[in-house]
């Protein structure tokens, strides 16, 4: 463990939690009410100096979870199935890869008439209703009660659905690992997907995620979502700034606060594979969820239609038999 990574606990007892909340202006110190409290992070990107200590800490703490693929990779059918191999590019830190779950995105923008570099630590947003988790057809991507989402590489088939449905295309594939090797390695699946899991083991033990712990500028704060959101609003007000991640994709557990509007940052940063955008994002799960109510109404309509038909039929038969005496109304 690096010098900067102490075992500082952020899940305190109830009394200490009160003190921690009271001291919540001290960045990095948080409280969590219990395991099921949804935790969110706040990133004051005006403070980030782009030193990449967080990127290194992420690797140090999570490196043991990185893929360890078997080579040669099984031949996949059809041949156009792309092989994603990052084993020779493990050192890449200027984008997201299966071996780099956090990177610093850089923007050059005008702040109060001055050309300024803004550094934005980018990783999974930990959406409140994460499509990567909810739409995974195998249940390999999972969400915890505390709001973090992670992909279990042992049961991931590597089909890329999580990446394709993610509005930021965060998860990254490595071929040659995961469950597909034991199922139909040539015909279905293609490795496993990797992304920030918000240091779930550390968090479970009451420790801070490594990137938060190590940051010399205390860019990030973690805590119960409602408290962190309040803090984000206060901070945005103070700096006359903007928040990203509150409304995006129906709400996420990551709030970026910036002195510069996010459309300006988005126009300046490099966007592409492994380099997510900063655009507004509609709630991707909402369309289908909005029509789900009809699934309750449809059976009632079916019952009513059949009952109506039966009533009509018996009436017609009564009439044809001349039995109208019961139909006075």
């Amino acid at each position: 463990m690096s010098k900067g990574l102490s075992r500082r606990s952020f899940l305190r007892g109830s009394m200490a939690a009160g003190a921690a909340i009271a001291a919540s202006t001290i960045p990095g110190v948080v409280s969590a009410r219990d395991d099921s409290t949804q935790l969110a992070t706040l990133l004051d990107i005006s403070k980030c100096i782009g030193c990449e200590a967080c990127v290194e800490a992420c690797e140090e703490v999570n490196g043991h979870k990185y893929p360890n693929p078997q080579k040669p990779f099984p031949k996949m059918f059809p041949p156009r199935v792309p092989v994603a191999d990052w084993t020779d590019k493990k050192d890449v830190t200027d984008r997201l890869t299966p071996y780099n779950w956090l990177y610093i995105q850089r923007a050059i923008v005008d702040v109060n008439g001055e050309e300024t570099e803004i550094n934005i630590p980018r990783r999974c947003m930990h959406c409140v209703n994460p499509p990567c988790v909810k739409l995974c057809p195998f249940g390999s991507a999972q969400q915890q009660d505390n709001g973090l989402s992670r992909i279990d590489p042992d049961i991931c088939m590597g089909g890329a659905k999580c990446k394709l449905v993610c509005p930021w295309k965060i998860p990254e594939r490595q071929t040659g690992v995961g469950m597909y090797l034991d199922v139909l390695p040539s015909l279905a699946g293609n490795g496993a997907f990797y992304k920030c899991d918000r240091c779930y083991e550390r968090v479970a033990q009451g420790e801070l995620p490594a990137c938060i712990e190590v940051c010399p500028e205390d860019v990030q704060t973690i805590g119960p979502r409602d408290e962190i959101l309040k803090e984000a609003h206060t901070l945005a007000k103070e700096m006359n700034g903007y928040i990203y991640g509150k409304e995006e994709n129906g709400g996420t557990n990551t709030f970026y606060v910036s002195p510069v509007p996010f459309d300006k940052l988005n126009a300046s940063v490099d966007i592409g594979p492994g380099m997510p955008h900063l655009k507004p994002v509609k709630d991707t799960m909402a369309d289908a969820n909005n029509i789900a109510a009809a699934m309750v109404i449809a059976p009632l309509a079916g019952v009513a239609a059949a009952a109506g038909k039966f009533y009509k039929l018996t009436r017609t038969e009564d009439v044809s038999k001349g039995g109208t005496q019961n139909d006075k109304k």
Partner: protein, 160 residues
């Protein structure tokens, strides 16, 4: 039954078959679309079928088809109970198909609930639901093919 009403009932049966067939077709098409296969296996390359590899479109379509399907089976069950129960029996293959459909509906309903914001079920139960939903579909498919080949009906007239 009058001539008119028996004519209407024949039309009703025919359209019911069509509704069931079409709904099943779209349910299966959009259901298998939930797995990342259509792009890999060139289905999405067929002109006009690019959309089948868009997970949000197939997800929405699956919901729409499920709505029609739920309305349809509720109609058929009520219709049986009101109009045919006295004269007809459900066959063994009818019961078997009913069990598979119940499984599909139950696991599907849980997955719909799961898609709302929140953590509704344990991780292992979600894996079970995913497997069960596909498993019941496969069982229904096999049973349906068998019934088609051996001309097994859902219901048959009571004797005596």
């Amino acid at each position: 039954m009058t001539k008119n009403s028996s004519h209407a009932s024949r039309i009703g049966q025919k359209s019911a078959k069509w509704i069931y067939g079409l709904t099943m077709f779209f349910l299966v098409l959009s259901g298998f679309g939930q797995m990342p296969l259509y792009k890999r296996y060139y289905i999405a390359d067929i002109p006009g079928l690019k959309w089948v590899s868009d997970f949000y479109i197939t997800h929405y379509l699956h919901y729409l088809a499920a709505i029609v399907f739920l309305g349809f089976i509720s109609y058929k069950i009520t219709d049986y109970l009101l109009a045919f129960r006295k004269t007809h029996l459900i066959t063994l293959s009818g019961y078997i198909r009913g069990v598979w459909i119940t499984g599909i509906v139950f696991s599907g309903a849980c997955l719909v609930i799961n898609n709302f914001t929140g953590k509704w079920f344990s991780d292992s139960f979600i894996i079970f639901l995913d497997l069960a939903h596909t498993g019941f579909v496969m069982l229904l498919f096999i049973t349906a093919v068998y019934c088609k080949i051996s001309k097994k009906k859902w219901i048959m007239a009571r004797v005596g």
